[in-house]
């Protein structure tokens, strides 16, 4: 009886946003008479930082300081339509919508400034809240002055609107496998290695380290990206080892009903986490961004399962990999029974349980 160490690797390829109905996001922007920018978008910030990132996109694209931008998604009536905050889509899909709206605002700022300065808009640029003549930075006027002139001299409102639509769902040719539309907007890639310790007496698995590499397109806000990836790593650890809606029996009456039965990783389970963030710009994303929210918790469970096999030579094919499942797999191996395999297992759908599917009828091979 001993503690064994093992290492495992898993990779993941992950799309951004959805294809159904084009997964639209819309945005509109208006500029106040003092040059401050109001962004209206339907994307709710659930802690992922989408307000911050979209405000950054708007500030960068128009050419005003970040703190001039107010992002308003306070109610459904005043916000344009957005499918929602899910599917790693907020930065890519909604970010593209605000990018397009901000470009329009910039054009209108240039048009008004052109009349004020009597210079062709093509010879003007906007940066740091000021419109200036290319090559002659001394000749300039503030965006606040442009917005004031638009309001009180020209009788105009500086606005812009933008929307992003993905290609609709593809139809697959059943014989050739060809699809009639391009795949999702941006594909991200990631790899994760897990280092584990497995106690072959108790079945306990401890993850010592997770080292991960993510193709993030472009880190619009590096701290936010790191937060998503650190958080995903620990959530993936939970999916791999701890979290189970049906901790005891696969029936609704016995399912867990609180935090004492649905185990979430805590600081006590925290492994050493190292991230490599690879900036590999996407052609379709705002400033090269891709979506990495969801994919950040996909590779860890498989990497952990592979590491357990490396450590003690058994495949545990059901998540979470609890001590009971590790011991059952070790027993099966010791007693010469074949290891559990995916083939021959029953995957059932049970409407009463209202989950997509669950595995049942453990089949320990023939």
């Amino acid at each position: 009886m001993a503690v064994h160490r093992g290492k495992g690797l898993a990779t993941v390829e992950y799309p951004t946003g959805m294809n159904q109905n084009g997964d639209p996001s819309q945005a509109w922007i208006k500029v106040k008479p003092d040059g401050r920018v109001d962004v209206f978008s339907g994307t709710a910030d659930i802690g992922n930082g989408s307000k911050t990132v979209q405000s950054q996109i708007v500030a960068e694209t128009i050419g005003v300081p970040y703190d001039w931008v107010t992002y308003d998604n306070s109610n459904t009536d005043s916000s344009p339509m957005c499918t929602g905050t899910f599917a790693s889509r907020a930065t890519f899909v909604a970010g593209n919508a605000v990018l397009k709206a901000a470009r329009q605002v910039r054009e209108r700022i240039l048009a008004v400034a052109s009349r004020e300065l009597e210079i062709d808009p093509a010879d003007l640029e906007v940066a740091d809240g000021a419109v200036s003549v290319k090559g002659t930075p001394a000749k300039s006027m503030g965006v606040d002055e442009v917005a004031g002139a638009a309001t009180f001299v020209h009788g105009e409102l500086l606005t812009g609107d933008g929307a992003h639509l993905n290609p609709g769902a593809a139809i697959i040719d059943p014989t050739t496998g060809e699809v009639d539309k391009p795949p999702h907007a941006a594909i991200s890639y990631a790899a994760c290695t897990a280092e584990v310790e497995v106690d072959d007496e108790t079945g306990d698995v401890r993850v010592l380290s997770l080292t991960q590499a993510y193709d993030i397109g472009r880190a619009m806000n590096p701290t936010l990206v790191e937060g998503q990836i650190d958080g995903g790593a620990v959530m993936g650890l939970g999916f791999g080892l701890l979290e189970d809606c049906y901790p005891y029996y696969p029936t609704a009456e016995h399912r867990g009903d609180g935090m004492n039965t649905y185990h979430v990783p805590t600081m006590a389970e925290l492994p050493e986490i190292k991230n490599v963030l690879m900036e590999n710009p996407s052609s379709g994303g705002p400033y090269g961004a891709k979506g990495i929210g969801e994919m950040s918790n996909n590779a860890q469970p498989a990497a952990i399962a592979n590491a357990i096999h490396d450590a003690v030579g058994v495949w545990v094919t059901e998540f979470p990999i609890t001590p009971e499942r590790v011991l059952a797999a070790l027993d099966a191996k010791r007693e010469g029974r074949s290891e559990p395999r995916r083939e021959g297992r029953v995957v059932a759908f049970d409407e009463e349980l209202s989950i997509n599917s669950f595995t049942s009828a453990k089949t320990w091979g023939a």
Binding site: G47, G49, G227, M278
Partner: protein
């Protein structure tokens, strides 16, 4: 019953077995302690009772009659944040924010009690707090930085040592 909540004397009218969490949130309108699991498992309701972190969801208000209760509102104001609050901002230790108030309160007790910047010690002190967003990495960094005596610029964000950036030039996909 009489409580001192965030340095203000309050008289409580709720029945004596009402949880301190319910009293704070519904009678006194102090909403930083969160009702998470309401069974002592998640840590989101943590407040300080006479300086010690307590699960307010499991604490009957009659059991703390006369005590001094501190929530995150009592640790600092937006203009004058406590060091732990500053550290959470500088180290980006909050995402959705649901667990944050309980963690800040517990971390305040930890560093106030002379807790070290050792990751294992911090983990042991704060393992009773669930966080679904951050993966704890930046929370640990924030608390360790307070324990070390760092000063914090809340207008900037700290970079984490566990991240390496690689740029793939010219490769678009």
């Amino acid at each position: 019953m009489e409580l001192t909540v965030n340095s203000v004397a309050r008289t409580v009218q709720s029945p004596p077995l009402t949880s301190l969490l319910t009293v704070l949130r519904e009678e006194l309108d102090i909403t930083s302690p969160k009702a998470g699991c309401e069974s002592g498992g998640c840590g989101a309701c943590t407040v300080l009772v006479d300086g010690q972190p307590r699960r307010s969801c499991l604490t009957a208000v009659c059991a703390v009659d006369g005590a001094e209760v501190t929530t995150v509102e009592g640790l600092g104001t937006p203009e004058d944040l406590s060091r732990v609050q500053q550290a959470f901002i500088h180290h980006y230790a909050a995402q959705c924010g649901f667990c944050t108030d309980g963690l800040i309160v517990a971390a305040t007790a930890y560093v106030g009690g002379g807790g070290s910047d050792d990751t294992g010690d911090i983990g042991e002190a704060l393992a009773g707090h669930y966080c679904r967003c951050t993966g704890y990495v930046k929370i640990l960094e924030a608390v360790a930085a307070v324990a070390r005596g760092d000063t914090f610029d809340t207008a900037s964000t700290a970079s984490s040592a566990n991240n390496t950036y690689v740029t793939i030039a010219g490769a678009e996909s």
